[in-house]
Amino acid sequence: MRTVLSIENLKVVGYKGGRSCPIIEGITFNLEPGRTLAVVGESGCGKSITAAAILGLLPWGFTVSDGRIVLDGQNALSLPPREWRQLRGKRIGAVFQNPLAALNPSLPIWKQVIESAQLEEALTRKTARSRALQLLERVEVPHVASRLDDYPHQFSGGMRQRVAIALALARNPALLIADEPTTALDLITQAQILNMLKRLQEEQNLAILFITHDLSLVAEYADEVFVMYAGQEVERGSVSDLFASVAHPYTHALLRSIPRLTGSRYRLIDIEGVPPSPHSYTRGCRFASRCPRVIAACSATPPPRLGNDSHEAFCHHPHRVLAP
């Protein structure tokens, strides 16, 4: 199948005070139409930087230093910046974490929903309004017709996130990058919005890059998982393969730390310590200092790749041996 987005060996470095250090390294994945890839990891693991690199929204002082970002068969980094910006704006939609900041508080809803479409072609007021109506109906905003002129503060968080999704999908993109889209919402709204995204994905054959820290959502909504730690891939695979045989101790620890309602009551399980800062990255496995299964080789040499294309892990001492 044709891939929408393929990331090859992506490396982003950050500069601070004249020194540079790698933020993410060797990130490689493909995304096909109609599929969802979940990028999972703790805060500070480079998930959002990966998304920002694809969206061209890296903060000041960060640059893509190596690798390829291929969208629709075109390598972003070799295109003239202007053309890449146009292609990106047309083919990728983006939804961010905080629905309160997703909309301009001083513009009515309908103007914001058609913003991305309006940037492409000038619409008359009438067509713009009817387009906005259609878009908002598609994301299931109730009583749309009477709410077009409302301002964002009159909407709830979940409704605002729906508006942000409508805005992201206004130009029929091939890819939607959702950076923790439901983290700020309650569980019921979260489920509604993710189900709606699923429906829209099936209708439009949309590829979704779903960034989250919540592995329980991944099992339900994603097709593939990409687990990141300290700017690197630690484990990747299809949801069925990966959840059936978790190999990397980090993925294992993430899964263990999901709170459960059933069984006997126990203290919530966490992972001791915090991810290392980019300044202190070493040659060996970066998870070694927190890993319960650490062995001598871990801190000495980079972890080897285990497994095959449908499920791979980078580990010296995995929970399960993966067939090559």
Binding site: R88, G89, F96, A101, S106, L107, L119
Partner: protein
């Protein structure tokens, strides 16, 4: 806010429409009518050359209010542009622009004006430009900080991702978000400039005689007050006071209203 606006409108009408009702010339000298106290013939009295104070007050309001208002518009536009450019530029450019701004802010307005007064002719046009040129840095800094605060908002990032140009972002999102703060600042700048201009005229650096201005009338009156002609300082003083107070009332009212949004 309404009462402030009412006072200001009355002052505007007094200055621009007043001369149509009270047609006496502000320049006609009447040697036999020096230092007349306010009376029914001379409502606000006459000055040391026998010129009617009422007419002089009316014509004096035009440069005082006009220069301040247009000067404020110029300062607002300059400050807005400078602040936007700085806020939207890469960090290094932004930093240099801000240091330049610090240098400009370090120069005292009055000293700068005295310097310019020495090298260029002082007429209302040059005063407008001068006052406009010296009073924008404060707003520039406010605007720049607002831009930095809004720049990272998700809706701005999203618009960028959809291919919005920097100009589009500035016009559609940033300008709209900072409109309240800019308009309030412009109002306070008017009040500020009325006072600055009055101070300059008082020192003889503003509107040049014989053209009247409120500050100039006050300055002239203060030299003559020793003769007991209280009306020469009372009326210009009241006019300046009312103008500044009304502008501050408008500004404060706008601030309360827009912030309560």
């Amino acid at each position: 806010m309404a009462s402030g606006a009412a006072i200001f409108v009355i002052l505007l009408l007094f200055s621009w429409a007043g001369p149509f009702l009270h047609t006496a010339s502000p320049y006609a000298i009447h040697p036999h009518l020096l230092f007349q106290e306010p009376s029914w013939q001379h409502l606000l009295g006459t000055d040391d050359l026998g010129r009617g104070m009422l007419a002089r007050m009316m014509y004096g309001g035009r440069p005082s209010l006009g220069v301040a208002m247009i000067g404020s518009v110029i300062a607002t536009l300059l400050g807005l542009c400078y602040g936007m450019v700085a806020g939207l530029s890469p960090s290094l450019v932004d930093k240099s622009l801000m240091r330049i701004l610090d240098a400009i802010l370090a120069l005292p307005t009055l000293v700068l004006m005295i310097f310019f007064a020495a090298i260029i002719p002082l007429d209302p046009i040059s005063l407008i430009l001068l006052l406009g040129l010296v009073s924008w840095p404060g707003l520039a800094r406010i605007v720049r900080n607002e831009v930095l605060a809004y720049k990272g908002r998700d809706y701005i990032l999203a618009a960028k991702q959809y291919g919005a140009s920097t100009w589009y972002l500035a016009r559609t999102h940033l300008l709209r978000s900072m409109f309240p703060i800019v308009i309030v600042n412009a109002t306070f700048t008017v009040a500020d400039l009325i006072l600055t201009l009055a101070g300059l005229s008082f020192l003889g650096l503003g509107i040049q005689p014989p053209q009247p201005s409120w500050g100039g009338l006050l300055g002239n009156g203060s030299n003559l007050a020793i003769t007991g002609s209280w009306w020469l300082i009372l009326f210009p003083g009241i006019a300046i006071f009312l103008a500044i107070m009304s502008m501050n009332m408008i500004g404060q009212g706008l601030l309360n209203r827009l912030e309560g949004r």
